[in-house]
Symmetry: C2
Subunit: 188 residues, 2 copies
């Protein structure tokens, strides 16, 4: 899907409180070219919400629910992946971008409120996306945007049932009826 392999690890999700924010983290990850999101909490609804998007809007994007954060991080590192924790603490994103761009396997960690100290220890980079109280959705968006080799907003998604046609006013969405029909039959 992308040349870089990028996964997002979402920590500290509380199903009642963070449902919409975590869905936004997942949508942002997908729209900006990440390959999937790992959720270090048990909330199958997030998985359902985001899994509905892929066949309609194309591309492939995985969600792994109820994962163990440290296990995921360790396994990722074992296969040569690097880990970048995003928050309002750490080195400034602009200082980290040149190094992050060189990596081919990156995990971005985004937390909710308190992130355990061991995450700061185990991360290859602790990166501040601005030193201000911020949004993890915004932090992830800016990081993915800045490390991309080609403009992620111009990315196309394969096998999309629906495609938006850029235009000045109004909405134009093209439906691939053949694919919609095929996907329906595969569901039955």
């Amino acid at each position: 899907m992308t040349e870089k392999e990028i996964v997002v690890l979402r920590l500290g999700h509380r199903p009642e409180r963070d449902k919409r924010i975590t869905t936004h983290v997942g949508l942002t990850a997908r729209a900006l070219g990440a390959d999937g999101m790992i959720l270090a909490s048990d909330d199958p609804k997030i998985e359902e919400n985001i899994k509905e998007i892929a066949p309609r809007w194309g591309g492939e994007f995985f969600i792994k629910n109820d994962a163990n954060a440290m296990e995921e991080i360790n396994n990722w590192k074992k296969v040569g992946g690097k880990v970048c924790h995003l928050s309002m603490y750490g080195i400034n994103l602009p200082d980290a971008v040149p190094e992050l761009k060189k990596e081919s396997k990156l995990m971005f960690i985004v937390g909710a409120e308190k992130v355990p100290g061991e995450i700061y220890e185990v991360s290859d980079w602790n990166v501040a996306v601005g030193n201000q109280p911020h949004s993890e959705v915004a932090a992830l968006a800016i990081a993915l945007d800045r490390i991309a080799d080609t403009d992620p907003l111009l990315k196309t998604f394969d096998n999309a049932e629906l495609t938006v046609i850029p235009m000045e006013k109004g909405k134009k969405v093209v439906h691939d009826n053949e694919l919609i029909e095929k996907n329906k039959q595969n569901k039955v």
Copy 2:
């Protein structure tokens, strides 16, 4: 605060459902250099949440609660402001950036779910931040980041009680005790 005057108009906020997303919209607007957020719904809690941030972390950021969206847009236009509606429809952000950069008074509109057709009509630009289902928090973050003249992540905020010191591991926050004391006395 910034040379450009930037406000964010938040549409379609539903207090029960969108509390956290709208707070993230506000935090993102502030952290990336906007001057304030206008909320076209009545939710004084959003105002409270975000107003707590400014004295602690510095800078000035206004929140206007319970505003009438069309009135705000019309008043903004009367004083020479331009209006840019962000969504997944419209022209691509990269195509709009050169024009947006030239403007000195910009209003960014971000909606929740359905945005009324009149918003598409009244906006000077309808801009797609990617043609994919997305997050309005991410859309705003990327737009503010891309139109900025200097890196918004390196921006400093005046009169901050708390300042984060960039470092590789851990958190270091400097407290301006004199200012904290002064602000406390002003509250009494």
